[in-house]
Subunit: 201 residues, 2 copies
Amino acid sequence: MRFSPLVEQLMEAFRVLPGVGPKTAQRMAMHLLERERPGGQRLAAVIQQAIEEVGYCQRCRTLTEAEICALCESARRNDALLCVVESPADQLAIEEAGGFKGRYFVLHGHLSPLDGIGPESIGLDLLEARVAEGLVEEVVLATNPTIEGEATAHYIASQLSEYGVKLSRLAYGVPMGGELEYVDGGTLSRAFNGRLPFTSE
Amino acid sequence: MRFSPLVEQLMEAFRVLPGVGPKTAQRMAMHLLERERPGGQRLAAVIQQAIEEVGYCQRCRTLTEAEICALCESARRNDALLCVVESPADQLAIEEAGGFKGRYFVLHGHLSPLDGIGPESIGLDLLEARVAEGLVEEVVLATNPTIEGEATAHYIASQLSEYGVKLSRLAYGVPMGGELEYVDGGTLSRAFNGRLPFTSE
């Protein structure tokens, strides 16, 4: 015996979510059907609406149902600073860290020629047009510190070189609050090579 | 900054699922919007359809979109044995352990007078009518080995006492304070084979 076909379909459909295996999918299906039908109905409606209406901001490509996102609309941000990130989640992480008051540009991925993801797939034509406007003075390349992220940053750097903007990247080093023992070798040697004068502030 | 209102609503809606906190909800929303829109659309449609169409089997009260579930329809099960469980997940766990070839009755919970859950809320009128039909010779009270599950079993035992059916419960061997759904198959099988006469000690 299994559950009825429709209940099985529901369990199967939950598997599309990240980190959801068969047991969790079953728990989710049972929870919705046994205890949370109103919440489930709302979840279905919101998923449907979000998938239909949420697209990319025409200016920075972050996820939004508006044409231009709230951050691009804001008058309080510094137009001279543009931070390039791979995903809206990275953008949020930087915002929550606080301190950066410029604008963003979201790639939704990184260059990956083998998967057919070229410059236009990650919006680099739009990014170049943005820099060509002339307001941006510095582009912070905050792609992920991975092979693909670094390669993408290098590509963008050479693409933008003719516009005379300052290019920067996030500092590499050991994470705050971590233990050296558990930091990987690549990070450690980068942190060593980039060591700074010690100051007791 | 947060995400756009609709993306925030999507994240909030995922919180209805069991074990989903803010960080997981964000990961799910991003995953659907960035990489899995077709899967998300299917998930929304299946949730919607399941919530509308899945109800209780008219005979055993398990979850099904049919009037009578496949197990109740089956001619291969023993009508003389009826196993009473708290949830469809418990029923599935027993089926997957193998060995039991009777029928089921699903309570969808246990008696809980303080929450207004009385005998009719858990279908005990239907259960009594089923036993009154006269085919059932033994009722296995497989409620959870918790205070509430035991209390419910005692209530059912006294309710059915006048019909002269044999009453049994799962052998201890299932861990006290646990939930049937998460007990491994071997333990469940043993508990089934070692089931004992129900007594109101």
